[in-house]
Symmetry: D2
Subunit: 344 residues, 4 copies
Amino acid sequence: MATMRALMKKEAGPGAKLEKVPVPEAGPGEVLVKVKAAAICGTDAHIYSWDEWSASRIKPPLIFGHEFCGEIVELGPGVEGPPKGTLVSAEGHFTCGKCFFCRTGQGHICQDVEIIGVDTAGCFAEYVRVPVENIWEVDSSIPEEIAAIQDPVGNALHAALIDEIVGNNILITGCGPIGLAAIAICRFAGARKIMATDVNEYRLNLARKLGADQAYDVSKVDMVEEVIKETDGLGADVFIEMAGKEKAINDGFNALRKGGWASLLGLTPGDVKLDLNDGIIFKGAKVYGINGRLMFDTWYKMSSLLTSGLDLKPLVTHSFSFEEFEEAFDLVLSGDCGKVILYP
Amino acid sequence: MATMRALMKKEAGPGAKLEKVPVPEAGPGEVLVKVKAAAICGTDAHIYSWDEWSASRIKPPLIFGHEFCGEIVELGPGVEGPPKGTLVSAEGHFTCGKCFFCRTGQGHICQDVEIIGVDTAGCFAEYVRVPVENIWEVDSSIPEEIAAIQDPVGNALHAALIDEIVGNNILITGCGPIGLAAIAICRFAGARKIMATDVNEYRLNLARKLGADQAYDVSKVDMVEEVIKETDGLGADVFIEMAGKEKAINDGFNALRKGGWASLLGLTPGDVKLDLNDGIIFKGAKVYGINGRLMFDTWYKMSSLLTSGLDLKPLVTHSFSFEEFEEAFDLVLSGDCGKVILYP
Amino acid sequence: MATMRALMKKEAGPGAKLEKVPVPEAGPGEVLVKVKAAAICGTDAHIYSWDEWSASRIKPPLIFGHEFCGEIVELGPGVEGPPKGTLVSAEGHFTCGKCFFCRTGQGHICQDVEIIGVDTAGCFAEYVRVPVENIWEVDSSIPEEIAAIQDPVGNALHAALIDEIVGNNILITGCGPIGLAAIAICRFAGARKIMATDVNEYRLNLARKLGADQAYDVSKVDMVEEVIKETDGLGADVFIEMAGKEKAINDGFNALRKGGWASLLGLTPGDVKLDLNDGIIFKGAKVYGINGRLMFDTWYKMSSLLTSGLDLKPLVTHSFSFEEFEEAFDLVLSGDCGKVILYP
Amino acid sequence: MATMRALMKKEAGPGAKLEKVPVPEAGPGEVLVKVKAAAICGTDAHIYSWDEWSASRIKPPLIFGHEFCGEIVELGPGVEGPPKGTLVSAEGHFTCGKCFFCRTGQGHICQDVEIIGVDTAGCFAEYVRVPVENIWEVDSSIPEEIAAIQDPVGNALHAALIDEIVGNNILITGCGPIGLAAIAICRFAGARKIMATDVNEYRLNLARKLGADQAYDVSKVDMVEEVIKETDGLGADVFIEMAGKEKAINDGFNALRKGGWASLLGLTPGDVKLDLNDGIIFKGAKVYGINGRLMFDTWYKMSSLLTSGLDLKPLVTHSFSFEEFEEAFDLVLSGDCGKVILYP
């Protein structure tokens, strides 16, 4: 039986192991993909570190990882899918297809979703099985390392393009990879001024490279003041929250102009205290909660942008082999990076 | 010089006085309205009781009151307005007409607004001056006591009709007059099930009269459970928040279905602790902050509903003369009422 | 081998034959439904009369008919669908599931659609095969004759609820069954005045029964004048086109107010001459082309309305047995009817 | 009494005269603007040539022209406007402020509008009077010749940004100045491919300069075929009609993809024959009629784009003095130009 290398959470607790395991087979309705590049998500770092959420959700042993691209090498029984050799990525939310949400074009909030690399075997391996409905064909003009990060770029696109960007002043709190991708997307979509915040200098520099007009270190400056000044006293037209921090959320709403809109994507460690009156109600603000990516509206739009000039290369800052995974995760946990790629 | 009776906050502190004061004159761009009926708002009750907000905002002496209808008796210099004798109400937010918001059809969030009965002399008087732009002509089929409460009914309409109601299951937290009006409006607009909450039996009964299918006393039942049960496990499609209480807000978001929408109108006494992750973000919910009424979209729509069958008569439960104002305010503060009218 | 009665277009040309044919079997991914009630669509009347469109599209022999309800009697291999005995209807557009449209929640405009009773065996038979994805479970409170007409009611709902109805004055041109259903839906959704047009007195009377405030016989009155008068000179806020006639379309746009919106559903026999300048451009109007029903948003919404008070019983005016099909089709072709049901 | 030079239509019939006339005075609510640059609109060319529309609408003697920028030199009685010396342009639609449209933020379709240079004295003069509400302050970074053409650029922006552009394939029929501006705006807003059509080589070259990926000479190629090919068989996501020609409109809808959207701005000389079935209805297309510019949403957005990188300089191709007006109009009528400026 053929084997492959796979990065596994073997048991409850921190760390991971690179192991030899059997190559999976594509079942009915599935394809087998040979992974060409995978990327490390914040969620993977949580699983690696074994935080509270991971302990409650992950059932070891599990191959983790959900961001990748690769080549189709096998079609399961009955699958008339893309031919072998096609370069693909995949939507990692496997949906039930039967609930109210799935039947109304809202699969991203399916009642009964399974997530690759969380609930089922993931992509930190030489091969990964995926339902053919989740397969996304990659345009040949898109480089592999960009093809591998479409999952988080899709999150950014879903958050940023859910309402009007063109001509608007945009505030993005949090310059992790999704925030950074949002900067590039807003720039591409004709934003006026883009103001970004973080506390990490490496990421603030990346923010500038990806198109931010202002990148504020909020450990040093009062971002509400800065945004108000930068927008002639009105406040930002749009607030995209990618930090998941109570202060960022409150500051963001304080810096939002009346009648503006906000996307919330960053998850907070617990409940947050909010001034709803001044932050949202008196302002007549509109707020969108953002979960995942629209299936597959977001993927089509993303492909459209990537093939017509959206340049995300500065976002991918480091790459490692599977064997160097410890170094890779340490780097991700340090925050001194953009997107980090693992190559089999 | 002609005098009139007017209900005034004479000095900082609780209570009010009914006094004789000069009848005002309509200045340039203004009309003078002879008040036929006025209504007591929660804000008026705050001013009467002299809470923290009132102490910081109101500058006595002030005639308060902002909900009314009456008859035009004088047109100021240069005003080519509706003729004398016209039955009118008025939008109580006087806007600057020059800011970004005013110039883009968003006068309800004007940078430089003045509110009648708060910043300028109000309608608890025999006569009141109003800028002609704020005047709203009342259709002759609308009874006076309904014409007098278009300001709060407009709040309810703005909150309820900002997104889709027809065919949706609606949760309305808080059955004060605005919540009650929202119930009637949602019923009129083809809502599926309407579920309302309060802790006051009088108001829960009014809720049922105005069209609620379920009216929950949240001091006795767990409304999240009830709503989930009533909606076959999905949760309410729409959540309209009129209570201004932390628990109502959190329960409301917990009872909202994924992909649903919420209007927030109730003001909270301070910051609130919220579970943004489960309440808004994972749900992919859409949230609208609601301030005032759209000028004058809300007024046209309201007039349209009131002249084609929206029946708000059960909402007006009591009426008093100006002389009986203490009794009227005591009743409003007790909560055992719907809308309370003051007649000059 | 079991046989069943089926109404067939046996060969190119007018008419139909009631024949004995084998009962079909549910294939993989399909269910077999025992038809309880079917309804005759305008399309079926075209196929029966064998018009130009039918001659170019229909390949006899074919069992036609696409509006029905029935009971599941067999699940095909691998189908974990609703249990036998479930009362169901079905979306008659069988979609490919793979094209841009299907993957973005727009299955109603699938690139590669097949229509039941047009491209594949239809429901004018004792049994019909349907892909399980197309099955729609019917709420037990919905009567069979209403369950059978959800396809055209869905067209009406899609056309009417694509934009705001509540508080708006609505003009509906054409009181065929879909126009009539639109009247009832607009009434339910809180429309202000509903004005409908036709040239058939029977249908104008039905229009009044279903909720039209005004039903104009356009062979006798100038509907533009009437609508303008009825709307105080502004014109209708909404124009829903169900007639498919050049004059109705031009009159409708002339009667639409500036800034209003229109739904076009009626198909015209050929190109139409339009005054785009005055009808659409100067008005700043918004126009929606309406094709089919949203899968399955429209079905959920329809079920929601039907279970909370939308009363369509007056719409179903006649019923016949399969054996009486000639009488039934003659009636449909005469226009002196609402919806006509065929019972096996 | 001070005099000024003004370009006038003196009497019914072709041509114009440059005359000495009294300098107007700013009345109550008005300001007087010293014109720095004016631009020739297609409408001005119609007035100059004296076509059917002009003959029915224009009452000579009239100073025409409505696109300009200039400096405030006088404030009328009671005006607390921008100070003298401010560089301004103006919205040329003077609205009533009282109708349903004006009171609901839809002043661009006011019931009772007057248009500068059509109904009242225009800007082809050294000075022009304008209601202060119509004044638009120009950001100091915007060059005069661009400030002068904000009226037609606003038309383009209103047509292009009324729905989603980012990531979409755009077809723009007609490369007059408004079509050309739309190209630049779509490029700025993150369009995927922009395909433009015309029959004039000069303008097709300008289209390429302003950002069109493809510029088709429709006297030589079949644009429907080209667009279908360019969009992998799907058709354009968006169709912006600026030609006002029956063939362009039909071809445009034929080249539009299912579920796409269209803006119609070009006025046609008479009724047009349209295939509504295949062009709009089966497609489930959405169509917007475009009239003027949103007051003042469009102006704010335009200013936002012009100050953050939208480069329209290639659009302004020629300039003349008032004295050279015949040469200027001949050029405009030839079509071999972009925007043509007249300097006093």
